[in-house]
């Protein structure tokens, strides 16, 4: 298949991505009112509206924003099966280019093989797999099984038409293979008891296992543990992809500058912060979603920010009554005539985005009074992703 993105990369390492999103399923009921088919096992699943959107958003982030100077983006293979809703409501999914193939077993098999071969050209390569759709989580180390558009085509072997992420991952081994691998599995487990017998229900797309150990970094970020659902917002994608993109912009940026002055998101920082962002998004909707991370997570760079991150600093007056007289100045503590901001009032909070760094907060009182104290220099370590503190003036 022709990659959706195919950039000419100078000699050296490059990044190769495979992105799959399935919202439309041929053998599931076409509407919510239709009954489940009786001639095949479909676990009671229905059509969805968010996996293709999520894969599309992630693929576009890769194309437009992904940066890894050690392994620039080489190829993105994109397979999407959008729902009717997404075709009509999500920008870009209406008229997909011919490079974007439907996420059927045949197409995915070919794409996996080509992605494997591309990743195997240099051990310094980076391999990225993102798959979204209905799925079965097997363990933290397997990555699970993601159902493809023609899932349940074979009545007696419904799982033949799936992506077996664990089997793919085991095949991505050997000394010539990309040693930095990232798997994002954005799927919800199929919970019915029938799924317990999945081993006898067919074999999904995988790779042959060379039995050559594992890459030092082969991290599996799974959107939801079996106890919670993977949730999605129609038109905006899954909560997992929303959180992932937020983490890649700022939420999972490491707290210090790395080599070459880079601000980076690493395999470890993603593991630390991505689950919290997903859970927090779910909490805002009064829902629960608990992502997990498995596989091997040697700390390697995933993404380099284009510039110094801008960190929101939130300062809250304590006590709040001081807001009528307190004036804030944020500065570097060195140059007396320079300020990030000066004479700003609290409401009683004050939020201001600043380039990551060390700052000093000075608080004066206007009019001066004895009820509240002024602060000459309060350290403000504004490190990613955000800084918050109470400002004690009582």
């Amino acid at each position: 298949m022709t990659p959706w993105v195919d950039k000419a990369v100078a000699a050296g390492a490059s990044t190769h991505a495979l992105v799959i999103g399935t919202s439309y399923y041929q053998f599931l009921p076409q509407t919510d009112e239709d009954a489940s088919p009786t001639d095949r096992q479909t676990f009671g699943l229905r059509q969805t509206k968010t996996p293709a959107t999520s894969a599309w958003l992630f693929a576009n982030w890769l194309k437009d924003s992904y940066s890894n100077p050690n392994a620039p983006l080489g190829t993105v293979r994109l397979l999407l099966s959008p729902s009717e809703y997404e075709k009509q409501n999500v920008q870009g999914l209406t008229n997909l280019t011919q490079e974007v193939l439907p996420a059927t077993r045949e197409n995915v098999e070919e794409a996996v093989d080509e992605w494997h071969d591309a990743a195997k050209t240099n051990p310094d390569n980076v391999a990225i797999l993102y798959a979204s759709g209905h799925g079965i989580q097997l363990s933290k180390d397997e990555g699970g099984i993601v159902l493809l558009e023609d899932f349940a085509r074979r009545a007696n072997a419904p799982l033949d038409h799936t992506l077996d992420v664990g089997a793919v991952r085991r095949g991505m081994a050997g000394p010539a293979m990309a040693q930095k691998q990232f798997y994002f599995v954005d799927a919800c487990e199929v919970r019915p008891k029938e799924a317990i017998d999945y081993q006898s229900m067919g074999t999904g797309v995988g790779l042959s296992n060379p039995y050559e150990g594992a890459a030092a970094c082969s991290a599996v970020y799974y959107s939801a543990s079996p106890s919670t659902e993977a949730l999605g917002e129609a038109g905006k994608g899954t909560l997992f992809v929303q959180a992932l993109l937020e983490c890649l912009e700022l939420g999972a940026v490491d707290d210090h500058v790395h080599e070459n002055g880079w601000w980076v998101v690493t395999s470890s920082t993603l593991m630390k912060y991505l689950p919290g962002y997903v859970s927090e998004l779910a909490r805002r909707f009064n829902q629960e979603q608990k992502p997990t991370t498995g596989g091997q997570i040697a700390d390697v760079i995933f993404h380099v920010l284009p510039e110094q991150p801008v960190v929101p600093v939130t300062l809250e007056l304590d006590p709040a009554d001081a807001k009528d007289c307190a004036l804030a100045r944020l500065w570097d503590g060195v140059a007396a005539d320079a300020s990030v901001f000066k004479d700003q009032r609290f409401t009683p909070t004050l939020t201001h985005p600043v380039p990551a760094g060390q700052y000093v907060l000075t608080v004066s009182m206007d009019p001066a009074n004895e009820q509240f104290k002024e602060l000459a220099a309060l350290p403000i370590p504004a490190l990613p992703p955000a800084f918050y503190r109470k400002v004690p003036v009582g």
Binding site: T48, Q137, E189, N209, S225, H256, F285, N286, G295, P381
Partner: protein, 398 residues
């Protein structure tokens, strides 16, 4: 201390135990580059200058501080958890979120389970046996959550607590203690709102508790660093094997196989009743490409019963699925061993779809721990001894 340097010591007064010494990033305040990573309470020499200090606590909270170090002087800095901004409540009306799974019935308001039953089971090389555990109710929360202190007897296997109510699927959770190990007790919380859910914690062993918390919050580097202390204890045979296994899992995840050196096989051999030791040894071999050793350890682990930790169950079942193919075994693995692995896979792999892998201890629903995947059946009627009955009015039967 070299010329131009000062010294810096970072203390965390809020830490519950001096055994737990989190790592602190010492960052140059001007360049924002990492100068070094120090341990809490460790005195380090740094060039005179201004520094930002950043650390992740076992609770997952981040902490920041600022230090100004002058040449030839000693600076001591308190590091405290960053205050958290007020959290906004959930949206007033839940918008139309979709679930990537089958539709579920709208849950009815969850009533508290008033009557439930509890028992303890040892799962080890000998099979599944009842276990004796001293049980003491510490607290009953306003929401009906019951907190108990558990002191298991010394048994050659992992002790599981099983809680159940009539009409509910029994829920199981592994305990991180055993009468034969240095830590003798743990805490069990049984949530009774809606569904019975057992949660286990280890407040009496702050080091292992901190390692578990770091793993739970995704801070593997910090977990591995603390686990090094557990490794030293293990070398002295004083260790808590549960802590050592947790450290082993953290190092495996970080792919720091060199740091595991003999630790993994020592753990597997010193504690032949603990499946986790064999899993750590087997997974290390698998990651190194030694499939025969890996397959042998994984079969041994499955013979030992069930691991105590969800990470161990994940690694075990993944390898069983990979190796348990009698028609096409990995190179060098005999068909006899492959057949045995296939038998274990048939018993254990189906259970993966019921495990909550976001938890540290292995926890799953099942009526029969000998055949957990095949016993996904609710409790039909009030069970007899050794089950113990709990009611809100009478407490836990003796």
């Amino acid at each position: 201390m070299s010329s131009g340097d000062g010294s810096l010591k970072i203390v965390m007064p809020a830490l519950a135990s001096q055994e737990v010494r989190p790592a602190v990033n010492v960052i140059d305040a001007n360049s924002l580059e990492l100068v070094k990573t120090a341990l809490c309470d460790e005195e380090v020499s740094v060039p005179a200058g201004k520094y930002l200090l950043s650390s992740t606590l076992p609770t997952g909270e981040r902490s920041f501080a600022y230090a100004d170090v002058s040449e030839g002087t000693h600076e001591e800095v308190n590091l405290v958890a960053v205050e958290q901004p007020p959290v906004a409540g959930p949206e007033a009306a839940t918008p139309g979120l979709e679930s990537l799974g089958p539709p579920k019935p709208v849950p009815s308001p969850a009533p508290t389970v008033d009557e439930w039953f509890l028992r303890f089971v040892c799962v080890g090389p000998q099979g599944v046996e009842d276990a004796r555990v001293d049980t003491e109710i510490e607290k009953i929360g306003a929401d009906g959550t019951v907190e108990l202190t558990l002191r298991p007897e010394g048994v050659p296997g992992v002790v599981f607590v099983q809680v159940a109510a009539v009409g509910h699927m029994p829920q199981n959770a592994a305990l991180p203690v055993n009468g034969m190990t240095t830590s003798g007790s743990c805490r069990l919380s049984v949530e009774t709102a809606g569904h019975l859910t057992p949660f286990v914690s280890l407040p009496d062993n702050p080091l292992v508790d901190a390692v578990a918390r770091y793993i739970h919050t995704g801070a593997l580097g910090e977990a591995a660093r603390l686990a090094t202390q557990a490794e030293k204890l293990l070398a002295a045979k004083m260790a808590d094997p549960y802590g050592a296994a947790l450290g082993g899992y953290a190092l495996l995840r970080l792919h720091e196989l060199g740091r595991l050196h003999d630790w993994s096989t020592n753990l597997a051999n010193l504690f032949p009743w603990l499946a986790d030791g064999a899993i750590v040894a087997g997974e290390k071999a698998a990651l190194e490409g030694d499939q025969v050793t890996a397959a042998t350890w994984m079969a041994d682990a499955a013979r030992r019963g069930l691991p105590a930790f969800a990470d161990g169950f994940s690694m075990l079942t993944s390898r069983l699925r990979e190796y348990g193919s009698p028609k096409n075994p990995p190179p060098g693995v005999s068909s006899t061993l492959a057949k045995e692995l296939a038998r274990h896979a048939k018993r254990l792999v189906p259970l993966t779809t019921t495990i909550d892998f976001s938890r540290i201890m292995l926890a799953f629903p099942a009526a029969d721990l000998a055949e957990p995947a095949r016993s996904q059946t609710p409790l039909a009627s009030a069970p007899a001894r050794p089950w113990r009955r709990y009611t809100q009015s009478a407490g836990l039967e003796v």
